[in-house]
């Protein structure tokens, strides 16, 4: 518990009282002596002021502790004076989680409280993905004259968990690197499938269904039609969560990390639905790894991971980050047939080198890059040009790039797909 401290508000009163008294005596004017008398009363009032330990109870109530994203959640902060004395001057500042923005009202309360009385304030926050825990409430109390002040903190456990549903609103086309399992990705491997690939000489044991009977009728030779084999892929969604990726075009806009996680949580169910094995990794100071797998449990795990894992928190982490160690760890975890979908705003050259290195190691890389740049200032335009150059660099290196602007991800994918070679 903190001690009360002097606010130095009334310093100098003694001097003014003495000046007034002296002037009164010197000029023999009784009114000035009365003025000095009033000053002494005030001085006494200030000197006898005391402030006991603040015994209050702080309660916080959420209208919905598990809201959907972008829901408005009303927070009610209640404070009750549990002491035996009136608190004349009580100021509370609530510890709103850093990632949440107060959209209506203020998370602050100033009041005077009789013993047993309760005051409350309500404010509204806009829910965003993640697990948000309220910090301590800071309480400042003063005695009636304002001469002594006490600061204390009260902790009330409140957590809001916002786990958006994973919705596959866009279909992410994969590249040719696949596992041996049957799936949806068309490969260049000839075999059974749907799309015609080639015709070769009949070999003993080929299925009768795949014999080209027209050709047999025309030339009398047996030949076998081959199709492009469709196989399942192993995909790892790597989200760039480095502090460099915590950038936004405007102060109240979504950060690139937020949009990267959005992109990953759109791609995840889409890939899972098409039979691919999907994993999740964070490339940033906070460690996060969900090994590639499939099934309903895996989907639920991923949903929780995207919503509440600290690596994907909307506020940047303070932990130290060693890129080369993270890179090595990521490589070790990626199986040789794993494709990588790298979600990064590409705000620096290191992100480019990550994509290029993964591509070089044989993991077919697709970069989904939300555009965090704006055209507001000269510097912002420069950053945009630099990012454009990085995108071009990647495309030249054979990496597929989806440049995701303000439109929905599906639209960007459509546009990007038109420029890709199969």
């Amino acid at each position: 518990m903190t001690q009360g401290f002097d606010t130095e508000r009334w310093h100098g009163i003694e001097g003014l009282v003495l000046v007034s008294a002296a002037a009164g005596v010197f000029m023999r004017t009784p009114p000035l002596l009365l003025l000095a008398g009033l000053g002494i009363v005030l001085l006494g009032y200030v000197r006898i002021a005391t402030l006991d330990e603040v015994s209050i109870q702080v309660e916080r109530e959420l209208s919905d502790s598990t809201p959907d994203a972008d829901d408005e959640v009303t927070v009610t902060l209640r404070v009750t004076n549990e002491g035996t004395r009136t608190l004349f001057d009580l100021r509370l500042v609530d510890g709103v989680p850093p990632a949440l923005a107060v959209s209506d009202g203020t998370a602050r309360l100033g009041t005077a409280l009789r013993p047993g009385a309760t005051a409350s304030t309500t404010y509204t926050v806009t829910a965003i993905r993640g697990e948000h825990t309220w910090d301590e409430t800071v309480v400042v109390a003063r005695d009636p004259s304002g001469a002594i002040e006490r600061r204390e903190t009260f902790h009330t456990e409140t957590t809001m968990r916002c786990e958006p549903e994973l919705a596959a609103t866009a279909d992410l086309p994969l590249r040719g690197l696949t596992s041996q399992y049957t799936g949806r990705v068309e490969t260049d491997v000839p075999g059974s499938g749907l799309e015609f690939a080639s015709i070769r000489e009949y070999r003993h044991g080929d299925p009768i269904r795949r014999i080209d009977w027209n050709r047999r009728a025309r030339t009398g030779e047996l030949s076998t039609v081959q199709f492009r084999e469709e196989r399942a892929a192993t995909v790892v969604l790597v989200v760039d969560t480095r502090s460099e990726a915590h950038v936004a075009p405007a102060t109240d806009a979504e950060t690139a990390v937020e949009r990267c996680v959005d992109a990953a949580s759109i791609a995840f169910p889409a890939l899972l639905d098409s039979g691919d094995r999907v994993g999740v990794a964070a490339f940033g100071p906070e460690e996060c790894w969900l090994p590639p797998s499939g099934g309903g449990d895996h989907r639920a795990r991923a949903r929780r991971l995207f919503a509440t894992h600290s690596a994907f928190s909307p506020a940047p982490s303070d932990a130290a980050f060693f890129p080369s160690i993270a890179m090595r760890r990521l490589r070790r975890r990626l199986s040789s047939d794993a494709q990588v979908i790298f979600c990064s705003p590409l705000t620096d050259d290191y992100a480019v080198s990550v994509a290029r290195r993964l591509e070089a190691y044989g993991h077919a890389v697709t970069v989904v890059s939300p555009d965090p740049t704006s055209t507001e200032s000269l510097g912002a335009r420069l950053a945009r040009i630099e990012r454009d150059l990085r995108l071009r660099d990647l495309r030249r290196a054979g990496v597929r790039v989806v440049d995701w602007g303000d439109e929905p991800l599906g639209v960007s994918l459509e546009r990007a797909e038109a420029g890709w070679s199969r």
């Binding site: 606010t7 508000r9 003694e14 003014l16 009282v17 003495l18 000046v19 007034s20 008294a21 002037a23 009164g24 005596v25 000029m27 023999r28 004017t29 009784p30 009114p31 000035l32 002596l33 009365l34 003025l35 000095a36 008398g37 009033l38 002494i40 009363v41 005030l42 001085l43 006494g44 009032y45 000197r47 006898i48 002021a49 005391t50 004349f88 001057d89 009580l90 100021r91 500042v93 923005a101 107060v102 959209s103 209506d104 009202g105 203020t106 602050r108 309360l109 100033g110 009041t111 005077a112 304030t121 400042v140 009636p144 004259s145 304002g146 002594i148």
Partner: protein, 165 residues
């Protein structure tokens, strides 16, 4: 809405300026010169509230003291002087409180109750104090030697200053 305007609160500003106006009006009854000085103090006080500066508020407090001294040295009369003193102290106190509340809670928070309670407490203390002082003053207005009065004052100041919290 998430931005906080760390400026003196509106209710406090309104009350402080009202008290400042009252001080000018009371002094204007008997001592126009002191009233003018008090008006100047009020303007400085308003400036301090606009700028949100504690220093300027303290300067206004200093000018108030000068105005009261001027009124006392003139022939303002005890009643007028005490009333003006109550109004002036109240103006400074409320203004300084509005500054600190605004600094802690910002202008968007509803702090009317907090500030009204603060102003009322100060007003009650000053009124009761002024009543006491006035009563003692009237009762003792005889031919006491000035040295006795001085010693009494110094003694009381020493006593009060020595009070433990």
């Amino acid at each position: 809405m998430s931005e906080i305007t760390r400026q003196p609160t509106r209710p406090g500003t309104a009350m402080a300026l009202s008290a400042a106006g009252l001080s000018v009006l009371v002094l204007a009854v008997t001592s126009p010169a002191a009233a003018l000085l008090s008006l100047l103090a009020g303007i400085v006080l308003a400036g301090g509230l606009t700028r949100g500066s504690r220093r300027i508020l303290d300067a206004a407090g200093g000018i108030y003291v000068l105005a009261l001294l001027l009124g006392g040295l003139g022939d303002a009369g005890s009643e007028v002087l005490l009333l003006a003193a109550i109004a002036s102290i109240l103006a400074w106190d409320i203004a300084e409180n509005a500054l600190s509340v605004g600094d802690h809670l910002g202008r968007e928070t509803d702090t009317t109750r907090l500030e009204v309670v603060h102003a009322a407490t100060t007003l009650v203390v000053l009124t009761v104090g002024a009543g006491m002082v006035f009563a003692i003053g009237t009762a003792a207005s005889g031919g006491q030697p000035i040295t006795a009065v001085v010693l009494l004052l110094v003694g009381v100041i020493a006593l009060v200053a020595g009070l433990r919290r």
